[in-house]
């Protein structure tokens, strides 16, 4: 790893990370801010939602029977703040870290310094890890304090921690996936559209699986299926196979990134 490169990368991507962090804080705080109001009017809200088709409720992850608990409510919206918003940013950051050097032609400067390609990959991946971890810690703290304040701390903190850890692992997986895609590209570009398409696409796969048994094969193409959203379960916790899927998939993508980038022609 090149410490010099790492510091530069951490600094140059800070602005985007701060903006996304603020967006996530705002989203979490405003969503949970209305929770107490909703709780007082739960009967009316249940009547309102009961007119919606059941498949739509399932697709949107609306489980009204869980809304008497703050974590039950939180989990409904969690998928939007962490895996979707932060996931999209992670995949964008993953593609940007290498591609901006090639697009701005600064790769020529970087690769003519006494630094190996492995050191470049390591520095960029550590940057990705720190930024994605940073946003997820901020999201966790925002969720923790918001849930705590609206419920007088009457919820299982361990379950919230486990949920956010899965969220972080999925976001990091998306980031590494974006990074790997740019390593494979002959002339790397920041693929904002494709990145968001991948995150949203895999989320829609998950929705499709939830509402129809005919599309179960899609579970192999969506990381959402490997997240555990059952925070209200008494036995909720880390499951080795789920951790293995995320860490293993990310590890493989990282390994292949090193292998392919070592021999990649930098076309400027």
């Amino acid at each position: 790893m090149s410490f010099n490169l790492l510091i530069k990368e951490l600094r140059s991507n800070l602005k985007g990370t701060i903006i996304i962090s603020l967006l996530v804080i705002l989203y979490i705080v405003s969503t949970l801010g209305i929770y107490s109001v909703m709780q007082e009017n739960m009967t009316k809200i249940s009547d309102l939602y009961s007119t919606m088709p059941e498949f739509l409720m399932e697709a949107l992850n609306f489980r009204l029977n869980q809304w008497n608990s703050v974590l039950g409510f939180y989990i409904t919206y969690f998928v939007y703040y962490v895996p979707l918003i932060v996931g999209c940013y992670s995949i964008f950051l993953g593609t940007k870290l290498l591609s901006k050097e090639e697009q701005n032609k600064t790769a020529e400067f970087l690769l003519t310094r006494p630094v190996s390609r492995e050191q470049i990959i390591s520095s960029k991946l550590i940057t990705l890890f720190i930024h994605v971890l940073g946003i997820n810690i901020i999201a966790f703290l925002a969720g923790l304090f918001s849930c705590g304040i609206v419920s007088d701390w009457d919820f299982n903190i361990k379950n919230l921690t486990v949920l956010h850890t899965y969220g972080f692992l999925m976001c990091f997986f998306f980031g590494v996936l974006g990074f790997f895609i740019t390593v494979l590209m002959k002339r790397a570009k920041a693929i904002i559209g494709i990145g968001i398409g991948i995150v949203m696409g895999t989320y829609f796969f998950d929705m499709t699986i939830r509402i129809s048994d005919k599309f179960q094969f899609l579970l192999y193409f969506t990381p959402f299926k490997y997240m555990d959203f059952g925070v209200l379960s008494k036995v909720y916790g880390f499951e080795a196979w789920r951790l293995l899927v995320f860490i293993g998939a990310s590890g493989l993508l990282i390994m292949f990134s090193y292998v392919f980038y070592r021999k990649k022609d930098i076309l400027i």
Partner: protein, 299 residues
């Protein structure tokens, strides 16, 4: 030990030709010119030497280190000036030079201050705000701050004004006197002629000639255009080496290869009103000089 040594270095981009079978050796302390027209393969050769690209076949060594396996060790000893400077636009010049220096684990000392003064560079400006010439100055300074043993220069003078070009050549000569080897790629014959000890000419991806500079000078072409006084009849020149003559009214243009004194003596016999002698562009030189010889490789 050679500073640079390549054997049959070849690069294809898919089916397109990059360079084919490039072999040359540069001794330590030498200034080696590498000339060829645009698209001839100069930059591809440099990018292979700097491990930005990987060869399709063949091999190369810099100070006995393999260009494929030993990239970081090689780059510790090499300074590089690219033909087109693309640095981090949001950084100031000082930040960029400090960032570069940290990779080599060197501090910016009096050697750096001397370079900054010599090239008259404003360190506080952002890279984005610099002209092409000033960006080139930054490139020159960053290539020298770690005191490299080898300088690889890819068309380094483009964008520099004549005054700064002269200072730059002085710096290069000083560095060479200290023992620094210089690989100087250019498409401007006159600057290669001014600086280099030996030269290789590359055309369509192949080296077509490798020679010392005095032999090359004898082969150089000049474009001569003269205008005779009105109503004067043109008389054919007798000097050997005149090729490709074009006439229009009382203006005659031709390419000349040979000693200038012989031609000037012959021209002095004519009632000339106006005369210009210029260096033709490299494409033209190649078109005339190497048209029947493009596949020949001379070592």
């Amino acid at each position: 030990m050679f500073a640079i040594e390549t054997k049959g270095l070849t690069k294809y981009y898919g089916k397109s030709r990059g360079i084919i079978d490039i072999s040359f050796q540069i001794k330590e302390g030498e200034i080696f010119g590498f000339i060829g027209p645009n698209g001839s393969g100069k930059s591809t050769t440099i990018r292979l030497l700097l491990s930005l690209l990987f060869p399709s076949s063949g091999a190369g060594k810099i100070f006995n280190y393999d260009i494929v396996k030993d990239g970081p060790k090689i780059k510790q000893m090499v300074g590089f000036v690219p033909s087109e400077v693309n640095y981090y636009e949001k950084m100031t010049v000082k930040e960029l030079l400090e960032y570069s220096a940290r990779f080599y684990k060197v501090t910016l000392n009096h050697h750096y201050n001397r370079l900054v003064d010599a090239l008259d560079l404003d360190l506080t400006r952002k890279i984005d705000d610099l002209s092409m010439g000033n960006k080139k100055k930054v490139a020159v300074i960053q290539s020298l701050i770690h005191k490299p043993r080898l300088l690889i220069l890819d068309e380094p003078t483009s964008g520099l004004d004549p005054l700064i070009q002269n200072r730059f050549f002085e710096i290069l000569k000083e560095e060479n006197e200290k023992g620094v080897t210089i690989f100087f790629s250019s498409h401007v014959l006159s600057e290669v002629e001014k600086l280099c000890h030996r030269v290789a000419i590359i055309k369509e991806g192949r080296i077509v000639n490798e020679d010392n500079i005095s032999s090359l000078k004898e082969k150089l072409l000049y474009r001569v255009t003269y205008q005779l006084r009105n109503e004067t009849k043109d008389v054919p020149l007798q000097t050997q080496g005149i090729i490709s003559t074009e006439k229009s009214k009382n203006v005659t243009t031709f390419l000349y290869q040979g000693k200038m004194t012989a031609l000037l003596k012959d021209l002095s016999q004519l009632p000339i009103e106006k005369i210009t002698i210029t260096e033709p562009d490299l494409e033209e030189v190649f078109m005339h000089y190497y048209q029947d010889d493009s596949r020949k490789e001379v070592n």
